[in-house]
Symmetry: C2
Subunit: 398 residues, 2 copies
């Protein structure tokens, strides 16, 4: 029997990062600068174990039975309160929906808004998981020029004028993946105003916002929404705060859009696993969530410093530029000299250091050829030091 | 701002059952013959609590970290062995993928195979969650006549001749939802041969196969596949065996199709929550899984008998026909006299008994107007007795 696939899946390939990840994890002695995994020491294991035991003892049936697609009501309420207080995200005429990781929020937003052939404008480069989700929904991904302050507003304006079928603008304002950059308040405002003027929805992806370990918080773009103008779908998750493996995220969207996303969620997985929704709720209400986040920030602050110090110490001047993020998980590097990027990647991998080539983050697959992404999240201090040294030795032809 | 939705989501409405469920659960004194929830007493709570504690003590990091999209390897291996032994499902050149509930398997199969406008042939009536998933993927659902032995082969042949864009045939051979019927071996073979002759994939949905409490097991349609002819995608789940709220299901599909489904799964939720994949694996290997299933069957056998006895005792002769299933969760009833089905539903609901109107299960929304589905899974013996009495009083104009 020969198999014929749907138009949108026919050409879709597996995520290059997850393939690299699979490869890396097969060799436990590899230094995985490639992974997007959170630091395992950031998981509050003891507290989670205690909550788990409580749930199985006192609340097992709701944890094991079907729940509503919108999510566990007490978690939705607790989260809504926190978003209002901490991020100035007013939930009026918006609906908060629990998703199976932040990924599902991105994916559902696109399926609900984009018909096949519609366009999603994306920062170039951007998160490959989002690009794949948009493509799987049949949308076309078009890159918009960005700099260290995020998407360029003039370039956005030009793209909106040029392309007639733009349905969504995808932005990661905090500690962008892969660039690590953080978009300024003024730039957020400018991008928002352009989107509203063109009547196009912004999909704001914020998985790393809580992992700011330097500088001042900047309000999310979603906070610019008013009752009369709700132009932003805000996605986030607990993956980098409590656990990635439990798959609990959330979306705050205008209620008309959220209603469609809930229908989509019913179709995809009925609801997010109940047990971990209850666990998140209990962690937020029975433990000191803010103190935990401060501890998590401390972990990443230290690791980021170790990596910056190593980059400063080993990287030959003028050979590679690299970012110095104020939060998140990633450093983005660009080869400035004549080193062939493919040779560099192979050389590093042969010496057991895995990085992600920049091109996989390119919406049009035609930029960032000389760049690569590295993370300090999972390697140990010693691995960071050694890995950066190997990268610095791989960048110059030996 | 006005919102414009994608073609496939524009007209999609939330699942009627989940809306009824929401309504029902708001009134705890309602008898929920409407729910598809498993019996809470079937959850092996004590064993799960013990496993949970073990995982958090000895295996917390893999449970809380990202995993691979295909699923937790030890669970996949254990499941593959059991499917081979118990169901004659040979995994050669097929791939077993863990999904977030059985629902995700159905949904991914359709997204991977069907472009917008393509047709999925379905038993009429069938599972509404599947119908919605197919529609959300842009597919058209076309009903094929069925009887107490499942889909009618001649009607399938006619539908395949009439419609040019059929990409998939959706079947629930064991204890069909909503009809409760079980398709015979001969009928399974006939349907399979027709599908193969037309080169159309069968999506075999088997969430209830393990809940046979009477009669003999019949091999799944997937077991007819050979190395040379792999025409079936087989979907199942742990929802009715261990817990529905944990969202762990699986798919056995030809490897070329499974590879695309894994890409789709990466886009939707990256992977199924790790903790419960590990819990399923430990339950299957460290406890007596077969004895547990036998206990679960006993629970449903008893409940089904209570409902059949009540139906026999209370239903006025000739007013309502009802099925007598050998497994699964559902009894399908059809009003034979002049009672207006809408008046019947409202009368029953006013007396706090919720059932699901048959029409919601109709792929073309044009059959089963005089039918309704009831379940014995969650109500107590006393509620089953009282609920059936109320239904019998609602069926004849008072």
């Amino acid at each position: 029997m020969t198999y014929q696939f749907s138009d949108s899946f026919d050409k879709l390939a597996p995520s290059a990062i997850r393939e690299i990840l699979k490869y890396s994890s097969a060799y436990p002695d590899i230094i995985a600068f490639s992974a997007g995994n959170p630091a395992p020491e950031s998981f509050p294991r003891e507290e989670m174990a205690k909550i788990a035991s409580d749930i199985f003892t006192y609340d097992a049936v709701p944890a094991l039975q079907y729940g509503t697609s919108e999510g566990y009501a007490p978690l939705r309420e607790t989260l809504a309160e926190r978003l209002a207080v901490k991020k100035n995200l007013e939930c009026k005429n918006n609906t908060l929906v629990i998703t199976s990781g932040g990924q599902q929020g991105l994916e559902l937003a696109c399926r609900v808004l984009c018909s096949p052939g519609d366009i999603v404008l994306c920062e170039d480069p951007t998160f490959i998981g989002a690009l794949n989700a948009f493509r799987a929904a049949g949308a076309r991904t078009v890159g918009v020029e960005m700099d260290e302050d995020g998407m360029n507003p003039e370039a956005l304006e030009r793209a909106l004028t040029k392309h007639k079928r733009v349905r969504m603008i995808y932005l990661i304002p905090n500690f962008q993946n892969p660039r690590g950059s953080c978009t300024s308040y003024a730039r957020r405002r400018a991008l928002y105003d352009i989107a509203v003027r063109h009547g196009v929805i912004i999909l704001e992806d914020d998985p790393y916002g809580e992992i700011r370990f330097k500088g001042e918080n900047i309000p999310p773009i979603k906070s610019f929404d008013t009752e009369d103008c709700r132009a932003v779908i805000y996605c986030s998750s607990f993956s980098k705060l409590l656990s990635a493996g439990m798959r609990v995220g959330y979306v705050l969207a205008p209620q008309e859009i959220a209603a469609k996303m809930v229908v989509g969620k019913q179709c995809e997985d009925v609801h997010t696993n109940m047990f971990f929704q209850m666990l998140c709720h209990r962690f937020m209400t029975e433990y000191d969530f803010e103190a935990h986040l401060e501890r998590v920030r401390g972990i990443y602050r230290h690791k980021a410093e170790v990596m910056q110090a190593a980059l400063g110490r080993y990287m030959p001047k003028g050979a590679v530029s690299y970012t110095n993020p104020e939060g998140g998980l990633f450093v983005f590097c660009t080869i400035l000299n004549d080193t062939d990027p493919d040779v560099f990647l192979r050389t590093a991998l042969a010496r057991k250091v895995a990085v992600v080539p920049g091109q996989v983050f390119s919406p049009g697959n035609n930029t960032c050829y000389k760049s690569f992404r590295i993370t300090y999240a999972t390697p140990s201090d010693e691995q960071i030091e050694r890995g950066v040294r190997i990268l610095s030795e791989s960048v110059l032809p030996l």
